[in-house]
Subunit: 448 residues, 2 copies
């Protein structure tokens, strides 16, 4: 090392202090603060009853299952003819960037969702959040590229876009799906302004945050509109297994590879494993010759390249646990989740029964409290006659011991300011009953 000719620094140079304004805007962005809040709030108010987090119910799980599941996956590799050295390498080493349980994931999609795609079109990711990041990064090339979202929209998408500085434009929902006229208008306006509209993000089954599911005819109309508008659809489906009525995924109706499918094991297996995936069976042309036969490949392979710069590969240990859960039944998870789905539907019914008791239909014009009726999933939407903001939430947590999520977090504009997202997924029956009593007291307090 060459010694600098410049003088030594003062020995008492002060410690480095960074002003938040010198850091990337995402650090101070409300979206990221919100996501951290959503993730941390349960830790912050341990005694409050929380309708906030999109966490699955854990009553059906035993921590001691995890070592057994890892062992079951190892035994499966052994039974499938892998040598001891191959097994050690599969668990110990850096693995394939796109994942080692791609075949099992593709098998699950056939069993659970009638989605028939080659394993090569699957990339196993560290939660669905990484999958979202990969897709946004791959699709958006320059500052003129725009992503549309069905509004209100899961904050993981707007947050990932913020990190990558990708503009997000909201397309209003109708309450039961995407407003296709608004979609066409938005695309036309953006195109006229020189923007390249790349994709529309949508959660057709038991949407986060509203809980609403799109009907089959509306899905078909959305696919047709996307084809006309030359738009990819990003279908995110974490809650499909918990729907009260099974509807076809957009991907299962997709005959021309216009749907990129985003999946998660956080609700159907367990969140701590942090395993999600993306199905990207779109053909990519114009790649360098060594990328595949004739320089063509699948979008999944390009997403894997990006993943190599984010997490390198999904932990083998997590993949082993999820792999073992997929192997345990018929290759899918729908059957294994039937009890959980029933539980969530019961809890959602119980929340609505509680609300009905506290805010009877006859008094609703006066109370101005109403709610929607999703047939499954984790969430429902509550309309209240006051600003459901952080201040209200703080009062609710401290004075009433009940937590919920302000719906405004999921809006890019000011819609949803007087709405609350309630989650039915995390609580027991007793907690729901007591929680609704506390919630009603809080609502009455803030309504006066």
């Amino acid at each position: 090392m060459t010694r600098s000719t410049a003088g030594d620094p003062a020995p008492d140079a002060p410690a480095v202090v960074l002003d938040a304004g010198t850091l990337h805007a995402s650090v101070t962005s409300p979206v990221l603060t919100t996501m951290t809040f959503l993730n941390e709030i349960t830790f912050r108010y341990p005694d409050a009853i929380s309708f906030a987090p999109g966490r699955p119910y854990e009553g059906f799980f035993d921590a001691d299952d995890i070592p057994r599941l890892v062992q079951a996956y190892i035994d499966h590799l052994r039974d499938s003819g892998s040598s001891e050295d191959e097994i050690r390498t599969a668990l110990f080493q850096y693995g394939h960037t796109a994942g080692q349980i791609r075949e099992l994931v593709a098998g699950m999609l056939r069993v659970d969702e009638d989605i028939d795609v080659p394993p090569e079109s699957v990339v196993v990711t560290v939660g669905c959040q990484e999958a979202v990041l990969l897709v946004l990064r791959a699709l958006c090339r320059d500052p003129d590229d725009v992503i549309l979202v069905d509004s209100p929209c899961y904050v993981g998408v707007t947050g990932a876009a913020r990190l990558l500085e990708i503009p997000v434009v909201a397309v209003p929902g109708t309450g039961s799906g995407v407003d296709l006229d608004a979609l066409e208008r938005t695309v036309a306006e953006l195109t006229a302004r020189g923007k390249r509209v790349r994709a529309l993000y949508v959660v057709p089954d038991c949407s986060n945050p509203t809980g609403v599911s799109m009907e089959r005819a509306d899905r078909e109309a959305l696919l047709a509109a996307a084809a006309r508008l030359d738009l990819l659809l990003l279908e995110d489906n974490p809650y499909g297994l918990f729907s009260g009525r099974r509807r076809p995924t957009l991907k299962s109706l997709d005959e021309r590879q216009q749907v990129i499918y985003l999946g998660s094991f956080a609700k159907s297996a367990f969140p701590g494993a942090r395993v999600g995936y993306v199905v990207a069976d779109q053909r990519v042309t114009g790649l360098a010759a060594d990328s595949g036969p004739a320089g063509d490949g699948l979008l999944a392979a390009e997403l894997a390249k990006i993943k190599s710069m984010i997490t390198v590969n999904t932990p083998s240990v997590s993949q082993a646990v999820i792999g073992a859960m997929l192997l345990a039944g018929d290759g899918g998870l729908r059957e294994a989740n039937a009890v959980a789905a029933k539980h969530y539907q019961d809890m959602m019914g119980r929340i609505r029964d509680g609300l009905e008791r506290e805010f009877p239909a006859a008094e609703r014009p006066r109370s101005q409290v109403s709610w929607n009726h999703p047939d499954g999933g984790f969430f429902l939407t509550l309309d209240v006659p006051f600003d459901a903001d952080d201040t209200a939430l703080d009062i609710s947590a401290r004075e009433f011991g009940v937590l919920w999520t302000p719906m405004r977090y999921f809006h890019l504009g000011h819609d949803g300011d007087r709405q609350i997202r309630l989650s039915c997924s995390y609580l027991t029956e007793t907690q729901v009953d007591e929680g609704i009593r506390r919630l009603a007291a809080m609502i009455r307090h803030l309504s006066t």
Copy 2:
């Protein structure tokens, strides 16, 4: 959903095909193609002897250890007084974004590296790659922000910067550290051009790719230069435990929080767990009031916010395995890695002995083949008299059955075009001996 008034699409609309040119440049960037290559090459040529990957030796590992380690961590939680419900939640649910083994990591840093930092300054990440991404994202606010790297530089850093579109500027190394005159000149030139130079990335111990370690005096001079230049140092230390001679980390010498420390368990525990971490004990001011007492916090908390949009949290299963490995000894991993460190040093010696036999000193002016002498780590650098490019590597793999890494991958310019990185970490003695014979045959073939 509102039906669009526009007509239906042609029922035979062709399948979506994406041209690579419409995707983000990172997809076609040589850096990302390279990283994927580095990760996948061992799979592509299963019969070749590979000096390419930075993979740890797996001979000391047993896959069946993993379930035992998970169970050991669960038992530890039990013994520490956690209730069964708390244990289930810790393993099953979404966890703290910053990680659940922060205390254990901070303890290890005290034992192994004389680094004394509060657990709150640690963020546990999905491999060190995610840590790099978090730090680059947080520090670089706008297009004028620049990151410096000690060149040649690990591709994970240049690749992550490519994803985020952060400009990277190389500062040439001297062969034994950073050229401080070049550093000061580079900072002055960039500042004069209106750039904001945010940090210098450096691997002071057993660098990837060169294998070189910086001496203590050079580390102190670098810290002093960074203080004068108002520059953060990003110290990446995956190979420190395998150094032939222990030197103090920059972070242990850091008295004014000017070092952000990046760590990995991929070499010292196992890569498949995908656990790394970042130490960011810098104070951040000017945050919103609810971010902490008086609106001040640690940079680590801001990194965690960004992490919530990338992987949400590091898998509990991976953290459990690494946690158990940390609990197994004295809280550190240095002792547990003594045998592995000795193995790597023996293998590096064996590589040099083989090279000495094939290319004796007396003939070196004619052969033009020479190499450097790192005292530890995974890598050494070989100078050859031909372009060590992908074509050469392809010939080497197909015709000679031996793999290595072109050093040009690690350079931003054209230095290193006639250099090879050899890894000593992954092979057995027999493989090293046969591999060096093949390598020598390949070098003679391509030198003529």
